[in-house]
Amino acid sequence: MSEFHQIASYKPRSPNYRLLPFRFTELNDHDYVATNLAGEYLVLAKDVVPKLINHQLPTDDPLYTELRARHFLTDHTTAIASDLLAIKVRTRYERLANFTSLHMFVVTLRCEHSCQYCQVSRQSDNKLQFDMSLADADAALGLALRSPSPYIKIEFQGGEPLLNTDLIRHIVTEAERRKADKEIEFVIATNLALINPEFLAFCSEHDIKISTSLDGPRDLHNRNRPRPGNDSYEKTINGIRVVRAALGRNKVSALMTTTEASLSRVKDIVDEYLAQEFSGIFLRPLSPYGFAIRTKSYMKYNTERWLDFYKQGLECIIALNKQGIGFREFYASTILAKMLTSGDPGYVDLMSPSGIGIAAVVYNYDGYVYASDESRMLAEMGDQHFRLGHVRENSYDDIFLSPKLLKPIEDSFAYSNPMCHDCAFEPYCGADPVFHWALNKDYIGRKPESEFCRRNMAIFQHLIGLMHGDGFIRQLFLKWANRC
């Protein structure tokens, strides 16, 4: 018998560690994704998770230190771990305490375009009864300025808001007069067809940003967005040019919407955004509202087809970056900021508690207040479930303590929803009660059958899978996350 013990007897014993809350979900046949309370993730081989949870993971396992550093477990050497985790969690939810920061004013529902997929059910441009009144605008501004947020964004929506520039001028001027110590940012969501030098001078004077729609190359854009003269693309491109000249390059951004005709054109769409010298693109599916439902545009492609489109687009964008051309996909950037930083970019669709009312609110052209842009789209389809009150008839407390707002927020809170509560991707995902109400008349929906869940889960898994297998992509995604 040797006088020495075997080497194994000198190894640390199974440690007395304490688990911190975390969740795990399958990534592929071999791995799980595990996320801690602050949303930090690790990819773990499937055999590691039972060992970890059953307190059988030895301290000399290379993963032990990483799990401890990322706050999945704590032991006697890490007394500060729970405090650090608490700070990260507080940082993650910091935005919530500021309450509503995005205030959307629908200054008119009139529009001179006639897009088949219009999600707001626009009215023709001669129907003045669809303009917001001065009295309603003043009352809505009072509600917006009552928000505890030190920073608010006022976004002018339509219809086409440039059909009611007088009211935009009034709201901007009044907001600046009444803002006290608040910081206010103004954005106009416009198709740019009616932009003119005089109004651009006003925008320049008040530092107003422009958000426009660009669906892709000329033929695709004009097919998606009909207007008299069939020249929507020409108007938009010219508009982008004159806005940049008057306001500066970074004052105009663009959004695209995916129709069935877009599905085979993702490279063309990305190339169009590159040609117009945008720094990135937001590849967006259609939402189940407005004319998108009435004209059946929404039903023309399913989640799987959209995911193929999205993944192809992402591949194309990554290839550009590998060639040294800096270009981003903004939806991925938003998710990556949630995955790779302690911050939350505050994208309403990907918030839990849901961002309806508490992150964004809509003052409609008729003075009614809606919990989100999608809520007013639903109202135009006859479902006023998320109408919270009227700007002149109800107080701030009436509106923001309305059961019509609190119940969907509370019921849809993903932390306590079936399947979401134990999903590793919950920190990146959102509750979106309006989407589920629109499709199921239920705030939660059945998650195994939910398109929202299927679409987002697939994107989360895809992004993590890409980072896990490619160092270049990991670095690129870190860059996107930190610029979001």
Partner: protein
Amino acid sequence: MKVDVTFDSAAFSVDAVKMACYRFLDRFTSDIELREGRIVCHLDFGDKLAGPSPDAHVESFKKEVLDQDLRLKLKAETEPIRNLILAHAFSKTGLIADE
């Protein structure tokens, strides 16, 4: 197509099995029966099943029950923070009256 899957109730909780059934509701409906120390799941795939075979779904379902069992164990050891987060969300609004 109908398949019965059985779990020992000494090893698995009914909650773990129910949560796994929920996660598979887009693939089969399920009836859960407790019988002589066993949890018997009657799975009904109907006639609309697309994609993998029922056997593959049953195999995934069994793995999911194991996952759910681990999740319950993890949950029992850690604390939910839901109310803390919601209180934080509304903390500066002036909408919550002092207790």
